[in-house]
């Protein structure tokens, strides 16, 4: 898919997060200002404790900043109520987790379908989209299997299908290749890169994986809760 116009999908202004660790304030993020545009394929890197996790939690609306503002697709997250935020995540953000985190009692098809069920998508459309999405990620014939009957790579493909099926603007991926062997990881990364190019969805990775860093077209390094480097390739 050809991208005609880039828009700011994520804007953070002075985002600060202070945790209370047994009475001791810990600054996880220190006034992060960042803009991510639609269609970016961005990796956020940094050592453990640098604030990657906190940053992803905050830009996805899973956590609230102590100070500062987050705008997603032009909407201020802190101004949304609980249910509004849930709906916003459902419609705008796809999550890919390190440990796949599929619902183990649901089949592959049901896992992918779940978000569309929440959104009230009609049954026939849900089915068509699930079939198409599973075909895209190369899992055409496993829709009736449970996650435990799949390999790690296959489970992560299901997770990608689940994240993308509702066509969100942003995909947040937390260490998506960490539990996979390098060959499978490379294949998945290629697939996500291709989907990014085809669909124009914004991909943001939190990673330690050099392979992901290499594939990323923008590399943001966090250190002590602040942006250390921001490099466009």
């Amino acid at each position: 898919m050809e991208q005609t116009q880039k828009t700011d999908v994520i804007v953070t202004e002075g985002v600060t997060k202070v945790y209370d660790a047994d009475g001791i304030p810990v600054n996880a993020l220190n006034g992060v200002d960042l803009t991510i545009q639609s269609g970016e394929f961005t990796a956020i890197v940094g050592p453990s404790g640098s604030g990657k996790t906190t940053f992803l939690n905050i830009i996805s609306g899973l956590d609230a900043p102590t100070e500062g503002k987050v705008l997603l697709s032009g909407k201020v997250l802190s101004e949304m109520g609980g249910n509004e935020l849930s709906d916003f995540r459902r419609d705008n953000i796809g999550f890919i987790f390190q440990a796949y985190n599929l619902i183990p009692v649901l089949t592959v098809e049901e896992n992918v379908e779940y978000i569309m069920l929440l959104a009230g998508v009609p049954k026939a459309e849900r089915h068509d989209r699930v079939v198409a999405m599973l075909e895209t990620v190369g899992l055409k014939d496993v829709e009736d299997r449970l996650p435990t009957q799949l390999s790690g790579g296959q489970q992560q493909r299901v997770a990608i299908a689940r994240a993308m099926v509702s066509e969100p603007a942003i995909i947040l991926a937390d260490e998506p290749t960490a539990n996979l062997d390098s060959k499978t990881g490379a294949a998945l990364l290629d697939m996500m890169s291709q989907l990014n190019a085809e669909t124009g969805m914004t991909f943001i990775f939190s990673t330690h994986d050099p392979m992901v860093m290499e594939s990323a077209r923008r590399l943001i390094t966090l250190c002590d809760g602040q942006i250390d480097t921001d490099e466009m390739k």
Binding site: D91, I103, Y114, L117, R162
Partner: protein
């Protein structure tokens, strides 16, 4: 959405089968106990009503007003012929029999005892009461001998008499107040578990009793058996008004034994209290089970919340699991309750000889199965289980996704 919630609930409760089975057994035992307890209570009530009405009292009685309070020998039923003729035409009256009552003294060569001398019509008395069935020696006025007397085994023991032995009965005659005594031969001995009937009553032929009491053809009581016991409990039917005229009063068994309906009503309350206490205990087991399941799957709940499930949707997942647990438990409990009750409904429970609410149980108690036990109680258990699921559901609903998924990003 409902289909996926049902699938999630059903598959989740099967994830830890052992825990589900243990929780289900706890709930199902509670339900089975409720079903059996209710069936036993109904069986006991029916038994007590049957004992009270069939053994002697009947479904209804007609007396002269205030006879039951004063026991005056002269207070016989007014307009007896009219009353008798009308009763014979009543469609709801199956049988009726006439009786006289008089306090008296019975004496043998060895001993004496105060009694209530009852004059009966053997042919109709047999249809209405169970004295003839309780005979353990001799017979119930089988020979046409006006000097026959039928007494209880305990009275025979007190008097030290056996079949064929002679006794003398003394009564006070109506109007004159003179003592009158006559001799009788013991022609039948009965046994009732009820001590008062076994030791304090003696039965003679009606005509003989009328002659002794000098009341002519009059009687003190007409005992009635209706075609259905329920008719006797319905105070709206015209029967009561019709026969409460001319100074008479028609009373149902519920008025003759007022303690029975009162205690039955109390039993209803105690049944519900028992149910609440029982499930009050079970409810904590359910909460514990749901919380254990919830904490094991905290991360999953975090994922569901993160991908856009609303608070209410999260609560619904837990409530559906509670519902699935309830359905499994109800099926188990209903089967267990049915099997248990059916077994005892066939073999009976021996409470004979025990006095309950002033009535001595004569027969085995047979628990009675009803539709209510398999509709109302399971529904109550379902509601109870859902109520038990409210707290874990609320806990999940207010859960922060980032707390639940702390291990994620």
């Amino acid at each position: 959405m409902f289909l996926i919630l049902i699938k999630l609930a059903w598959r989740n409760i099967l994830r830890n089968k052992r825990r589900t089975i243990i929780a289900s057994i706890a709930i199902s035992i509670g339900l089975a106990a409720l079903i059996f307890g209710d069936a036993f209570m109904i069986g006991m009530m029916e038994n007590l009503i049957k004992t009270a009405t069939d053994s002697f009292i009947g479904d209804a009685q007609i007396h002269q007003q205030e006879f039951r309070d004063t026991r005056e020998v002269s207070m016989t039923i007014q307009e007896l012929d009219e009353v008798g003729a009308n009763l014979a035409k009543e469609a709801n009256v199956q049988y009726f029999t006439r009786r006289t009552f008089a306090p008296g003294m019975i004496a043998s060569s060895a001993n004496r005892s105060a009694i209530n001398l009852v004059g009966v019509q053997p042919s109709t008395e047999k249809l209405l009461s169970q004295i003839d069935d309780a005979i353990i020696g001799g017979g119930f006025f089988e020979k046409a001998n006006e000097h026959d007397i039928v007494i209880g085994s305990k009275l025979a023991e007190i008097l030290e008499v056996a079949l064929g032995d002679k006794v003398v009965v003394t009564v006070v005659q109506a109007k004159s107040g003179d003592y009158f005594e006559d001799w009788f031969r013991v022609s039948g001995i009965y046994y009732f578990a009820d001590a008062a009937m076994n030791s304090g009553m003696a039965f003679v032929r009606l005509k003989k009793a009328q002659q002794m009491l000098a009341i002519g053809p009059n009687v003190h009581e007409i005992a009635i058996k209706f075609t259905s016991t329920e008719y006797g409990q319905d105070k709206q039917v015209p029967f009561w008004k019709t026969y409460s005229q001319h100074g008479n009063e028609a009373l149902s068994w519920t008025e003759i034994l007022p303690q029975l309906p009162k205690v039955f009503a109390m039993s209803e309350y105690s049944k519900y209290i028992m149910g609440i206490v029982l499930f009050g205990v079970v409810i904590f087991g359910i909460i514990n089970t749901l919380f254990m399941s919830l904490y094991e799957r905290m991360f999953e709940f975090g994922v569901l919340r993160a991908v856009g499930t609303r608070s209410f949707g999260m609560a619904r997942i837990v409530l559906f699991e509670a519902g699935a647990l309830a359905v499994v438990s109800i099926l188990l409990g209903a089967i267990l309750g049915f099997v248990l009750t059916t077994i005892f409904a066939n073999i009976g429970i021996d409470y004979t000889g025990n006095e309950m609410m002033g009535v001595t149980v004569q027969e085995f108690i047979y628990p009675v199965l009803t539709i209510e036990q398999f509709t109302v109680y399971p529904l109550a258990v379902f509601i109870f289980t859902i109520v038990a699921g409210l707290y874990p559901a609320w806990h999940v609903a207010k859960m922060s996704p980032v707390d639940a998924m702390r291990r994620s990003f």
